[in-house]
């Protein structure tokens, strides 16, 4: 959830993304929590969440090092 919105800050002005995430962030978070319950295989959920986070964070990590 965090990484998704952080990724968006590279496209849109960051303070606007932060304000948007007040609403979308918590709803997305609740759905991610629910999906962990619904999924058949919990390890898959772990994997997906970690891969997604890293993927969305790549621009940020890249940016910090340069």
């Amino acid at each position: 959830m965090m990484s998704f919105h952080l990724c968006l800050t590279f496209v849109f002005p960051k303070e606007n993304v932060i304000a948007t995430s007040f609403i979308t962030g918590y709803i997305l978070w609740a759905f991610l929590l629910l999906w962990a319950f619904v999924a058949e295989n919990v390890w898959k959920v772990w994997l997906t969440y970690i891969v997604l986070s890293l993927l969305l964070l790549t621009p940020l990590l890249f940016n910090l090092s340069s």
Partner: protein, 541 residues
């Protein structure tokens, strides 16, 4: 929907529901009353805002003059936080920026932080001021029932619990509850999804109890869903937004929290240099604020900041909220330099609004229901009470579904006691609230500690009594009966002890005081209706 998913939704909904139900009921109940927070304050203090709106003027000059009697005001910063729909304002007075005037700050004493009270050294001051009565009072004296219920609805009173986790304990609990509430709403919707259309008009009040509770729970749950969903989200945002803001500020602002709050227009951290040259000019603050108010028609001034009082570099900042009719989202801000009478910057309340203003306006207006006058707040109140009914019926379904012969006795015992305690605590809230309202009028000048004692002790006693009687039917019947009597006594107490009989308030145009009286009469009549229904049902048996 396959059975596996149904079961998952069912169990996540049940568990998250039963964990939060009692606290959520408190939040919903106190929150519903908080829509009338300003009316409750006016009711308790017998000072109507609506009747005197045109008469009383906010006279800042008088306040500064009277302060100068006991303080040297030179070089200080002042912040006035105006209360809405009231003549009250919080006044925050800093120590002087002039080092020849200000005393050295003493070593801070370790003390527990309480609510809005802040630790200050002696020369600065934080208090409330009433423009109508021209009186200052400290926070605990001006604390009233409206403030109490408002703060109860985000569990501020729990902050006193000595559990140190780096953040106020009550707020964190309230935030967790409201996030779990969001989760329970989503799972509840999915759970009911297949039947949402077919069961929309289903209500079978003459069936067995479990069906009645289920029908109430789903029918009101579905109707109230958008409303409750909105409250779950805005509630989390308002109470525990630091959960989002802390990581953002760490990553995007390199840990500079002041910067993020400034970017989001929560706070103004700008400072103005102190020049040590006196200001050779008289300045009429009262007139200035009135001028700004006229400049943005319909806007209400929310904050007035005075920087470097009587210094050459004295600035005045006025912030205002537009009337929702003129501009739903927006915030006005005007920075004025006194020396040469120049407006340094201006953002009009009515015409300009940024994207952030829109989001924040959405969150605040939707949560507080302050965009459409009293009718909206009445609708909000009814929907809020509906939320309470959904919670209560949820507890009862939970109990009845587990009250079967194939459930082991020790589990049934535990389930019964859980439901018994929850019901006792929840249902005693209405009579206790009405009772405290009466005591406010009986007592002479009640303060924060009085409200705490009367509310929490009577709540404790009544809950313990109901728990000890070990019968949910009895809890229900007696709490409804108490509600009839006590709610009816509220307007009567207001008449006897405050002299504000309903017809007196009506003639004086004191509609805010009248609102509370009528609200309690209606609550009493509703309780009476419920009581008669219960009696009828019993007679049948």
């Amino acid at each position: 929907m396959n059975l596996r998913r149904y079961n998952i939704y069912f169990h996540t909904h049940t568990i998250s529901g039963i964990i939060i139900c009692a606290l959520l009921y408190v939040i919903f109940f106190a929150g519903s009353f908080s829509f009338f927070r300003d009316e409750i304050s006016a009711w308790q203090k017998s000072s109507s805002y609506e009747a005197n709106r045109e008469v009383v003027k906010r006279d800042y000059n008088f306040l500064l003059d009277s302060l100068s009697g006991s303080y040297n005001l030179k070089g200080r910063d002042f912040s006035f936080y105006l209360k809405r729909n009231s003549f009250g304002t919080y006044v925050d007075m800093s120590t002087s920026n002039d080092t020849t005037v200000s005393k050295k700050p003493e070593v801070k004493k370790e003390g527990r932080r309480r609510g809005r009270g802040r630790e200050k050294n002696e020369d600065s001051a934080y208090f409330t001021y009433d423009f109508a009565k021209r009186q200052t009072s400290d926070y605990t004296q001006s604390y009233d029932m409206g403030e109490f219920l408002y703060r109860l609805h985000f569990l501020a009173q729990l902050n006193q619990v000595p559990i140190n986790i780096g953040t106020p304990f009550g707020y964190l609990v309230a935030g967790l509850v409201s996030f779990l509430f969001l989760f329970a709403l989503i799972t509840g919707l999915f759970l009911h999804w297949d039947k949402i259309k077919s069961n929309f008009f289903t209500f079978r009040p003459w069936n067995k109890w479990k069906t009645v509770w289920t029908d109430i729970h789903t029918a009101l749950g579905v109707i109230g869903f958008p409303f409750q969903f909105m409250f779950a989200v805005t509630g989390v945002v308002l109470i525990v937004n630091f959960i989002l803001l802390t990581p953002y500020s760490k990553i995007l602002y390199k840990g500079d929290e002041a910067k993020i709050y400034q970017d989001l227009a929560y706070n103004d951290a700008s400072t103005f240099a102190y020049t040590y040259k006196p200001l050779n000019k008289d300045f009429d603050l009262t007139r200035f604020v009135t001028d700004v108010e006229n400049r943005w028609s319909g806007a209400e001034v929310s904050r007035v900041l005075v920087k470097n009082y009587q210094d050459e570099n004295m600035h005045v900042i006025v912030e205002a909220k537009p009337s929702p009719k003129e501009n739903f989202a927006g915030s006005g801000k005007l920075v004025y330099r006194v020396k040469d009478g120049k407006i340094v910057s201006e953002k009009s309340a009515n015409t300009e609004s940024s994207y952030i203003d829109h989001i924040k306006a959405l969150v605040y207006h939707l949560h507080f229901g302050d965009f459409g006058g009293k009718p909206i707040r009445v609708i909000y109140f009814v929907l809020g009470v509906m939320g309470c009914v959904v919670i209560i019926s949820g507890i009862l379904i939970w109990l009845l579904a587990r009250d079967k012969n194939n459930v082991p006795a020790y589990k049934r015992k535990f389930n019964f006691w859980t439901a018994n305690i929850f019901m006792a605590v929840c249902l005693s809230m209405l009579p206790v609230t009405a009772f405290t309202f009466i005591m406010l009028k009986v007592l002479d000048n009640p303060m924060q500690s009085d409200i705490y004692h009367w509310y929490f002790y009577s709540w404790l006693v009544l809950s313990l009594y109901f728990i000890a009687r070990r019968s949910i039917a009895l809890t229900n019947k007696q709490s409804v009966f108490l509600s009839i009597v006590l709610c009816m006594l509220v307007p009567i107490a207001n008449g006897i002890f405050g002299g504000n009989w309903i017809w007196v308030s009506f003639q004086a145009d004191a509609f805010d005081i009248l609102t509370i009286d009528i609200l309690f009469i209606l609550l009493s009549l509703t309780s009476l209706f419920v009581y008669l229904k219960i009696r009828k049902k019993q007679d049948k048996k």
